[in-house]
């Protein structure tokens, strides 16, 4: 695939987001899915697991705003995120979701561990669990709603990848934190998450076709390989040994968490590669025009039959 370009330069800008953002993709998913896991485990009567999951949700929910603020060009203006609510901006919607779920998680966790806010917690638990679901997937909507081809063209699959990753992250954290005999639901969640994450990401890459090249080379591929290795090893350990050995459970949880984080990094870095090379940006646009699917933004036929030199010529402009 070779395209015409201007001195090989990029057509769109690479994101300016730094390491905090892929880490937030992970912590946000961890917080969101952990809240759901905690709330449901409590309903099932597994309080040991529920308390651990609330702790994981609290950790994710507390770190997330710090990561996001730190990434801002003007961190002291972080509160400007709450000047308005805009559905056309997944970042705006997500800021409100994070605000709501973060507070709800805080109340629920304080209740689970310290017994505080007993009445408020009755409301906070389901609120945290429900808001945790969009908290886990809106980040995919956020990056899908950009001009970066590898993200935008995967707009239907990316939320599934991120949702699976959130399930995996919550399961992995709970495996590591919970005594093995109370961690059966966490093991099931982590294993299901690992399988879904791997399969949905592979499906996304396949559907992307040529757009998906950044997942096959450079850092997009490297982090993808690391994720595969960690998930494979971690899943094996979780399935075979984590139910009997606490040490194995911690190791499995750590490996699966590393896999989930690496998978987020793979998606993040692939976006940079996709934006930096004009072949990914111009190539598909030009092909769609050549195939007649799109008409493009340039037009060669004038809409006036006879040119009037008194109107058209640059010399006539006052």
């Amino acid at each position: 695939m070779s395209v015409t370009s201007y001195h090989g330069q990029a057509v769109i800008k690479e994101p300016i987001w730094t390491w905090e953002i892929p880490c937030y993709f992970y912590t946000g998913g961890l917080a969101g899915a952990s809240a759901g896991l905690a709330c449901l485990a409590e309903l099932r009567g597994n309080d040991v697991l529920a308390r651990r999951a609330w702790a994981a949700a609290l950790a994710g929910g507390a770190v997330s705003p710090l990561l996001l603020s730190s990434d801002l060009g003007r961190p002291l203006r972080a509160l400007n995120m709450f000047r308005m609510f805009k559905v056309t901006s997944p970042m705006s919607v997500g800021s409100w979701i994070l605000l709501g779920s973060g507070n709800a998680i805080g109340v629920a966790a304080a209740n689970a561990w310290l017994g505080w806010f007993p009445r408020l917690a009755k409301v906070a638990r389901p609120v945290a669990a429900l808001l945790g679901l969009p908290l886990s997937t809106y980040t995919a909507a956020l990056i899908a709603n950009t001009a970066v081809p590898v993200w935008h063209e995967a707009r239907r699959e990316l939320p599934l990848v991120f949702g699976s990753g959130a399930a995996l992250s919550a399961g992995a954290a709970a495996i590591a934190l919970t005594p093995p005999r109370d961690a059966a639901p966490a093991r099931r969640l982590a294993l299901a998450g690992a399988v879904l994450e791997t399969t949905t990401k592979r499906m996304m890459e396949r559907r992307l076709g040529e757009h998906g090249d950044p997942y096959k080379q450079g850092q997009g591929a490297t982090y993808g390989h690391i994720a595969h290795a960690c998930l494979g090893l971690g899943a094996l350990l979780a399935a075979r040994r984590a139910s009997s050995s606490r040490a194995a459970a911690i190791a499995a949880g750590a490996l699966l968490s590393a896999g989930a984080l690496s998978a987020r990094w793979s998606v993040f870095r692939a976006g940079f590669q996709s934006a930096a090379d004009p072949k990914y940006v111009v190539g598909p646009q030009r092909e769609a025009i050549d195939r007649g699917q799109r008409s493009g933004a340039a037009r060669r036929a004038s809409r006036v039959a006879q040119p009037d030199p008194a109107i058209g010529s640059p010399a006539t402009v006052s």
């Binding site: 201007y6 800008k13 309903l43 001009a147 949702g163 646009q285 006879q306 109107i311 640059p314 402009v317």
Partner: protein, 305 residues
């Protein structure tokens, strides 16, 4: 929104977040006629001076006469220089001036043909497009980016918190973060000068009227005649870029007359405001959220405690 601008004219923008009502002005824009650009970079200089933009010396690129490289936080006008070996209707032994004269380029006032060595030089002054459907504005979570009463797109520097969402959202790569400042900056179409009924600094400085400023409706008229004029003179590759309402951004406030494919100048051939896919995007995120909920319930309740 301007009452006299009918929907069919394609001149209307979403004046989000609200309408200007009686205070709305006609939509203003740029028509950049690259066929008469001489690459003097007066637009770049005038823009820097008027808007007090920090210097952005990035070294010597070797890419023809272009050392500005691209649009960004500190370059709101960027003159592109393209050197092409032209395969025209050249016959053995023709000088390039003869070819140019034969296909009427000189009579049509096309300044981009250089004599002698068969190199075709394209020059074009690029700028923020002030899109009808502006992705940057729609994704901005703080409302720092807004639509002015002239239907241009401007960043409010006292609001921008440097979240960076607009940077990869722009299909033209116009916006960027200023180092040591943290905020995002771009062309304002000289909003301050417009308020004083003055034309933008770049348009005023342009010595060949390659950059024309005015009411968009009139500029489009002018561009149609210019395109027809060039076509008559044999410039078959001349084209208008972003002059129509049926493209992926519903046309732009700053549009161009180009002499080759857009990508030759570093412009995307089919730019799209991805917000048009927003329903699909939100639906996918919603489905995934529901699936996550189902997966959580299934794993917690489907099996031993």
């Amino acid at each position: 929104m301007r009452p006299e601008a009918s929907a069919a004219s394609g001149l209307e923008t979403h004046a989000w977040p609200g309408s200007y009502g009686d205070r709305a002005k006609p939509r203003m824009g740029f028509f950049t006629d690259t066929s008469v650009c001489i690459g003097c970079k007066a637009c770049e200089v005038a823009c820097k001076e008027w808007n007090q933009i920090p210097m952005s010396i990035q070294g010597f690129t070797g890419n023809s006469y272009d050392n500005t490289i691209d649009l960004g936080a500190n370059s709101w006008r960027h003159v592109a220089f393209v050197e092409q070996r032209v395969s025209t209707d050249a016959r053995e032994g023709d000088t390039f001036a003869e070819i140019a004269a034969r296909n009427g380029a000189i009579d049509a006032g096309v300044q981009t043909y250089q004599e002698g060595d068969g190199i075709r030089w394209l020059m074009a002054s690029d700028v923020c497009k002030h899109c009808t459907d502006a992705a940057c504005l729609e994704v901005c979570p703080t409302g720092a980016l807004f639509r002015t009463e002239y239907e241009t797109v401007v960043v409010q520097e006292d609001v921008c918190n440097g979240c960076g969402y607009c940077v990869p959202a722009c299909p033209f790569g116009v916006l960027d973060q200023r180092e040591d400042d943290g905020r995002v900056w771009k062309c304002t179409l000289c909003y301050d000068r417009l308020k004083d009924d003055k034309e933008p600094a770049c348009a005023q400085a342009c010595p060949t009227n390659s950059i024309q400023f005015g009411e968009l409706a009139e500029l489009r008229q002018r561009a149609e005649h210019r395109l027809a004029q060039l076509a008559e003179a044999g410039q078959e590759k001349a084209r208008l870029y972003l002059a129509d309402e049926d493209d992926g951004i519903h046309g732009a406030g700053a549009f161009f007359l180009l002499l080759d494919e857009p990508e030759v100048y570093g412009l995307p051939p089919d730019p799209v405001d991805t917000v048009r896919d927003l329903k699909e995007i939100w639906a996918a995120a919603g489905v995934a959220a529901a699936a996550l909920g189902a997966a959580l319930a299934a794993t917690v309740f489907g099996g031993s405690r």
